[in-house]
C-alpha cells in the first residue's frame, strides 16, 4: 500500500459518512421519500472490503447499501438523485435507497429482502465459474440474514463448487430489535463456516486495515479457484434500523462503547500517529468530501422528477403496461 492507498481508504469512509449524514437531513426535510436504512458506524467494513476489488468484480448488498455502493465506486451525485427518486439517479429514480444498483460498477443491488442477495451473489460467482473468468463476487449480508435458510443453501453450494465468492457478514449485533444473543445459540457467525468445509474468519469490522487484509486473502483465494470464505466483521451501526427508529432497545452503555470505537476518527488517528499523513491532509479530505456532498445534493434536486406515466414502463423489455 502506498500513501494514496491509505488516504483513499479514509476518503471512502468519510464519503460514506457524509453521504449518510446528508441522507438523514434530506430525509427529515422530505427530499428523500420512503424508508432509509443507514450504515453509519460500519464504514470500515464497506471501505476495507471493496478496496481490494477490481472494477470487474461484483458485490451484492443489503437494505443498508449506500456504503457498499460508494465503496464499490458509486458516484454520490447519482446516488443522491436516486435516493431523491429523480431521473438522473442510478436506477432512473425507480429504485431509491433500498434498491440502488449499478451493473456497470459491479454493484448488483441493494435488496429489501433479508438474505436474498446471497443466492444472487452465488449466481454472479456461478457466472464466473461457467465462463472461466477470474472475477470475484463479495456478498454483504447481516447477522439477521445468517439465520435465513438461504445462508445454508448458498454456503453449501458455493463451497461444493468452489465458487469465487466471499460471504462477508456485517454483524452489527442487531436484527432490528433482536440482538444476536436472542437469535443465535453460537456467538460467532464465522463458526458456522466449519459446517461447509470453508474458512471462517472473524475480523474487527471497525478496523479498516484489518478488514482489508482479511478480504484481500479471501478474494485472492477465490480468484485462485479455491472457493468461498466466510468473513464475519464485528461492527455496529450508529443509527437505528431505519431513520426514525429511536433504537431504544439497545443499552446506552453499549451504544457509547461502539461510538468510542468509531472507525473514522480511529483511522485518522492511526494515519497521523504512524506518520502516513498529517492533520492538514486529513482535514483537506474532510473538506473535499463535504464539498462533493453539497454538490451531490444540488445535482439531485436539480434532476427532473419522473412523469407519472413512467409508472407503466420498465416492467418488461417489450411491453408498456396500461395506464389510467
Amino acid at each position: 500500500m502506498d500513501k494514496e492507498d491509505y488516504l483513499e481508504l479514509y476518503r471512502v469512509m468519510v464519503r460514506i459518512r457524509k453521504f449518510e449524514q446528508q441522507a438523514t437531513d434530506s430525509f427529515e426535510i422530505g427530499d428523500i421519500p420512503g424508508m432509509v436504512h443507514l450504515s453509519m458506524g460500519q464504514e470500515a467494513t464497506e471501505a476495507g472490503a471493496c478496496s481490494v476489488l477490481k472494477k470487474t468484480d461484483y458485490i451484492t448488498s443489503t437494505h443498508r447499501g449506500h456504503g457498499h455502493m460508494i465503496a464499490k465506486g458509486g458516484k454520490t451525485d447519482r446516488m443522491m438523485a436516486e435516493l431523491c427518486a429523480r431521473r438522473d439517479g442510478y436506477c432512473r429514480g425507480k429504485g431509491g435507497s433500498m434498491h440502488i444498483s449499478s451493473i456497470e460498477i459491479g454493484m448488483l443491488g441493494a435488496d429489501g429482502m433479508v438474505g436474498a442477495g446471497m443466492p444472487i451473489a452465488t449466481g454472479a460467482a456461478l457466472a464466473s465459474w461457467i465462463r472461466g473468468t477470474d472475477d470475484v463476487t463479495v456478498c454483504f449480508f447481516g447477522d439477521g440474514a445468517s439465520n435465513e435458510g438461504l445462508f445454508h443453501e448458498c454456503l453449501n453450494f458455493a463451497a461444493l463448487k468452489s465458487l469465487p465468492v466471499v460471504f462477508l457478514c456485517e454483524n452489527n449485533l442487531y436484527a432490528i430489535s433482536t440482538s444476536t444473543k436472542r437469535s443465535m445459540k453460537v456467538q460467532d457467525v464465522a463458526s458456522r463456516a466449519a459446517g461447509y468445509g470453508i474458512p471462517g474468519v472473524i475480523v474487527d469490522g471497525n478496523d479498516v486495515l484489518a478488514v482489508r487484509e482479511a478480504t484481500s486473502e479471501a478474494v485472492a483465494r477465490a480468484r485462485r479457484g479455491e472457493g468461498p470464505t466466510l468473513i464475519e466483521a464485528k461492527t455496529y451501526k450508529h443509527h437505528g434500523h431505519f431513520e426514525g427508529d429511536p433504537a431504544d432497545y439497545r443499552p446506552q452503555e453499549e451504544v457509547q462503547l461502539w461510538l468510542d470505537k468509531d472507525p473514522i476518527p480511529r483511522y485518522a488517528r492511526y494515519l497521523v500517529e504512524s506518520g502516513i499523513a498529517v492533520e492538514g491532509e486529513i482535514a483537506a479530505i474532510d473538506g473535499e468530501i463535504a464539498a462533493e456532498i453539497a454538490k451531490a445534493v444540488e445535482f439531485a434536486l436539480a434532476s427532473e422528477p419522473l412523469d407519472s406515466r413512467e409508472t407503466c414502463m420498465d416492467v418488461y423489455s417489450d411491453i408498456v403496461e396500461e395506464g389510467r
Partner: protein
C-alpha cells in the same frame, strides 16, 4: 421427414437447439444432469454440453433460483428446472421479489432472461403437493410472462421463444402431456409469446382452454358438434402476454365464452380472463361467461377423487349447454 415426437423430446430438442445456438444458455436444477431430469426433458444434454452448462444442484430450490437471477444479471441465460411446479413455492421470493421486479427497480438498466420450467398439473395421482396448477398465482405478478403449451409442437416453439425472451418466463409444462406424441418436421420456428392458437373454428360458443384442458375441450367440441353445436376452441398458449385480439375477436363472433383451466377456480387465471372479457366486451355477450375448473380443494390422491376434482370433457359439454340455455339473446 416428419417423425413422431413426444412433448418431452420436443422440449429436449428446443433446449439442445438453444444451447447450441447461444453459449450463454445453461440449465440448472435437481437431477437434470446425470439423470436427465425427472421427466427426461434434459436427457443427453450433460454429455453434450458439460457440467458447466447442465448443472445438477443439491436440493436447494431458493438458492438455484436466486443464482439464476445473479447469473442473468451478469448476462447469462439460465433455464431453471423446478422438478414439480409445486416446489416453486420454495423460491417465491426469488421469483416474485427479485426476478420479476429487478428490471423495474433498476429503472430498466438490467435484463432478466430467465426461463423457469415446471411440470405441473394433475391426473397422475400424485396428490396435493405434486399436482397443482399454479399459473394463476404467478399471473398476478407484474414482470413475469406465463407460458403453457398443450402439444409437442407448441412446447418446442414456445420454449425457444421463452429462452430468447429478455424477461423472466414461467414455463408451465404439463406432466400428463409429456408422453403425448405428435408427428413433427425436424425444422421449426419459434412461436412468438402472446399468440393464441385457434384449434377449431365454430360460431356458437368460444371455449378458451389451457394446457391439459385443450385436449378435453377439443373432445368436448367434437361431442357438441354431433348435437349441432359448433364450438370455437382457442388455446392462448401464453397466459401473459395474452392474445386478447384473438380471444376478443372470437367472443365478438360467438357472443358466448367458456373458460376451461385446471386450476382450482378461486382466484384463478380463468377469473382474470372472465373479468377482462366482462369489462371490455359486455355488449358482445349473449350469455353470462362460464368457467370450468378444478374444485376449490387440494388435489386429492385417489383416482375417483382426482377425476372428480379435475375438469373433465363432460363438464365442458355441460358448461357449453348451460351457457346456450342461459343465453338472453339467441
Amino acid at each position: 421427414m416428419a417423425k413422431r415426437v413426444s412433448t418431452s423430446k420436443a422440449l429436449n430438442n428446443a433446449l439442445d437447439r438453444a444451447m447450441a445456438f447461444d453459449e450463454r444458455v445453461f440449465c440448472i436444477g435437481e437431477d437434470i444432469g446425470i439423470m436427465g431430469g425427472t421427466f427426461g426433458v434434459t436427457a443427453g444434454l450433460l454429455d453434450k454440453y458439460g457440467e458447466k452448462r447442465v448443472i445438477d444442484t443439491p436440493i436447494s430450490e431458493a438458492m438455484f433460483m436466486g443464482a439464476a437471477v445473479g447469473a442473468a444479471a451478469r448476462g447469462l441465460v439460465p433455464v431453471v428446472e423446478i422438478m414439480f411446479s409445486d416446489f416453486v413455492t420454495y423460491c417465491f421470493d426469488q421469483v416474485v421479489n427479485q426476478a420479476a421486479k429487478m428490471r423495474y427497480m433498476y429503472g430498466g438498466n438490467i435484463e432478466m432472461p430467465i426461463v423457469i420450467r415446471m411440470p405441473g398439473g394433475g391426473s397422475v395421482q400424485s396428490a396435493a403437493q405434486h399436482s397443482q396448477s399454479l399459473e394463476g398465482l404467478f399471473g398476478h405478478i407484474p414482470g413475469l410472462k406465463i407460458v403453457m403449451p398443450s402439444s409437442p409442437s407448441d412446447a418446442r416453439g414456445l420454449l425457444l421463444s421463452s429462452i430468447t425472451d429478455r424477461n423472466p418466463v414461467m414455463f408451465f409444462e404439463t406432466k400428463s402431456l409429456y408422453a403425448k406424441v405428435e408427428k413433427l418436421e425436424e425444422e421449426y420456428d419459434p412461436i412468438p409469446l402472446g399468440t393464441a392458437s385457434v384449434k377449431r373454428e365454430g360460431g356458437d360458443v368460444t371455449i378458451v382452454a389451457t394446457g391439459p384442458c385443450v385436449l378435453k375441450a377439443m373432445n368436448a367440441a367434437s361431442a357438441l358438434a354431433e348435437e349441432g353445436i359448433e364450438a370455437e376452441v382457442i388455446d392462448p398458449r401464453t397466459l401473459y402476454p395474452l392474445d386478447t385480439k384473438t380471444i376478443f375477436g372470437s367472443v365478438e363472433k360467438t357472443g358466448r365464452l367458456l373458460i376451461v383451466t385446471e386450476e382450482c377456480k378461486r382466484g384463478a387465471w380463468s377469473a382474470e380472463l372472465s373479468a377482462e372479457v366482462a369489462e371490455k366486451q359486455f355488449v358482445a355477450l349473449k350469455a353470462p361467461i362460464a368457467r370450468v375448473g378444478a374444485l376449490n380443494t387440494p388435489v386429492p390422491l385417489a383416482k375417483q377423487l382426482e377425476d372428480y376434482y379435475l375438469p373433465q370433457t363432460e363438464n365442458i359439454v355441460d358448461g357449453v349447454k348451460s351457457i346456450l340455455k342461459e343465453s338472453v339473446i339467441k
